[in-house]
């Protein structure tokens, strides 16, 4: 009896879950499908079977120079992530292994800077950038995204480092390992998975950041967020092409995201939910 109930239970749950999952995923699926349609097909009504043209991808590159914002996104998100890691690894390291009374306060304070609304500092940042020639440069955007995400990077690394047992350090020290050796041979191998997860999540956050990337850039340094946002003007009403540009913009991050679900939970909840 119990078995038959559980089979039926599983069947019902499966149908319901797949139905809702497909409903949630539909806008993404439809975008990908539309990117392979011709423009008349794209507005001809619901159809999940495109004629299979790659024309839109060619056109987006030919008309709007898609490669440029794509590279801007790659450079800015990778660049800001790497710089943030270089700054954050030592900080998180010392907080995890030589904590003081104030470590927790410092962590909390760092988190609080993340809660500073961007619009609260939009005007000064804009004016500073204008006066120093940083507006619409990849350098300027990289600096801002580094600072915006630095608190999350420190936090994530801290929660990972804290799980490395301190006894291992003691043991290495007993064996006469120097600090340098300790870091290279003992801690780095244990810390790498955490660093990799942090890096992945931060690239996703930087890639999708849509306030500073839109406001601080124009033709030169605009990453994909700003590029896609420019399609909102009437001249951009080419849905098949918009879909092609959108598909290219979200595909790499979507795939990275699928691989980082667990780390995402941990990173975005500051270790409160694992």
């Amino acid at each position: 009896m119990a078995r038959t109930v559980s089979t039926r239970h599983k069947a019902i749950a499966t149908v319901a879950a797949w139905f809702i999952a497909l409903l949630i995923f539909f806008p993404i699926l439809y975008t990908v499908v539309t990117s392979f349609k011709t423009e008349p097909e794209a507005i001809a009504g619901i159809s999940l079977i495109p004629s299979g043209t790659f024309e839109n991808y060619v056109e987006v590159q030919a008309q709007r120079d898609y490669f440029k914002p794509f590279m801007n996104s790659v450079i800015v998100s990778l660049g800001s992530t790497l710089i943030a890691l270089v700054i954050a690894v030592p900080a998180a390291w010392s907080m995890a292994f030589s904590p003081t009374k104030r470590t927790k306060d410092i962590l909390m304070w760092m988190l609080s800077t993340k809660m500073l609304p961007a619009v609260g500092v939009l005007v000064p940042i804009y004016l500073i950038f204008r006066d120093t020639g940083l507006l619409d440069t990849r350098l300027g955007l990289t600096v801002v995204l580094t600072l915006v995400n630095l608190p999350i990077v420190v936090w994530m690394l801290y929660t990972y480092f804290r799980e490395i047992p301190g006894e291992i350090l003691e043991a290495a020290r007993m064996d006469g390992a120097s600090l340098m050796n300790e870091i290279i041979h003992v801690l780095t191998p244990m810390a790498l998975p955490g660093i990799a997860s942090t890096m992945l999540l931060n690239i996703i956050l930087a890639w999708n950041e849509s306030f500073w990337t839109i406001r601080l850039t124009a033709a030169q340094a605009a990453p994909l967020t700003a590029f896609i946002a420019s399609f909102s003007s009437p001249q951009g009403l080419f849905w098949a092409k918009l879909s092609a540009a959108s598909t290219l913009a979200i595909a790499p991050i979507l795939i990275m995201g699928w691989f980082s679900q667990r780390q995402l939970v941990r990173g975005l909840t500051f270790g409160a939910v694992k």
Binding site: T34, G120, L147, S243, I250
Partner: protein, 289 residues
């Protein structure tokens, strides 16, 4: 045991991160505060003068300000209601034994990775467009008049788009929390004759309490700052119907070039965010120990 040397080293290792964040926080914030007491318009930058509280008074008496505060609240609360309630139900569903669980999870989490401008434009053009959108196609199919979403229900449309982006986040976090629920406890409750509703109310929900708190607080930070979704869909309109506080400040700063006014708005936004942040810090801080 920490020696003096290692303590100095620890401080040095922490210094770059702390100093950079300190500068990043203090310099622009004090500039915003300074500007908020000035008459300063970028169209007439030579003519700067002390304004006292005029900018605040101006911002405060502007009907658009109160509307934007109301819109901000509706947006935050609306999206939170949809994502938390929907997320709990969806997490419970996904926690059942189902075929293809891995793929279902991937499909459900996906919208979270879609950059806001793409999400907003896809919904605007392909789903909610009154002429060619999927919603209009369906409406015509069942024989009702298609809805012109962004003209008739601008704020609701944005709530729907943002909820679509954040429902996956809530679901994922709550599902992770659910998976740590002790199944023996659940079975014991079932044995004792507790029905589904009772088990949900007395077992599942208390277990999820911490995760729900975290979801609400983290989403609130991001939902207060919704910007790109408004920019590419309604541009804050019609009138100020879908302008939130963040969008109003942007509009004042970069479309009216009113540095003083926008800065006053910025200070108000910072104060509001800080009040909320206080709650978040408490909740997260408790989970640290």
């Amino acid at each position: 045991m920490a020696t003096r040397q290692t303590r100095t080293l620890a401080r040095l290792m922490m210094a770059p991160a702390v100093v950079l964040l300190l500068v990043w926080m203090i310099v622009p914030l004090s500039m915003t505060l300074w500007y908020s007491f000035e008459n300063y318009n970028l169209l007439n930058p030579a003519n700067r003068s002390f304004a006292g509280l005029l900018n605040y008074q101006f911002f405060y008496t502007d009907p658009a300000f109160w509307q934007s505060i109301a819109n901000t609240l509706i947006l935050v609360v609306g999206v939170l209601l949809i994502t938390v309630i929907g997320g709990i139900l969806l997490a419970i569903l996904l926690n059942q034994p189902i075929f293809g669980q891995g793929i279902v999870r991937i499909l459900v989490i996906s919208p979270f990775f879609v950059m806001p401008p793409v999400a907003a434009l896809v919904w605007k053009n392909m789903i909610m467009h009154p002429g060619y959108g999927v919603a209009a196609d369906i409406a015509r199919f069942v024989g009702v008049e298609p809805v012109d979403w962004f003209a008739q229900y601008p704020l609701l449309s944005i709530v729907i788009i943002v909820a679509w982006q954040w429902l996956p986040f809530a679901t994922l976090i709550l599902l992770t929390a659910l998976q740590s629920l002790d199944s023996e406890q659940e079975e014991a409750a079932e044995m004792d004759g507790a029905n589904v509703v009772q088990r949900f109310w007395h077992l599942t929900l208390p277990h999820l309490a911490r995760a729900i708190t975290v979801v609400i607080l983290i989403q609130t930070i991001f939902l207060l700052a919704v910007y790109a979704e408004i920019l590419v869909t309604t541009n804050g309109g019609p009138g100020y119907a879908s302008t939130n506080l963040a969008f109003l400040i942007y509009r004042t700063a970069l479309l009216s070039y009113d540095v003083g006014g926008a800065s006053a708005g910025g200070v108000i936004a910072v104060i509001l965010a800080n009040i909320l942040a206080l709650f978040l810090m408490r909740a997260v801080g408790r989970n640290l120990d």
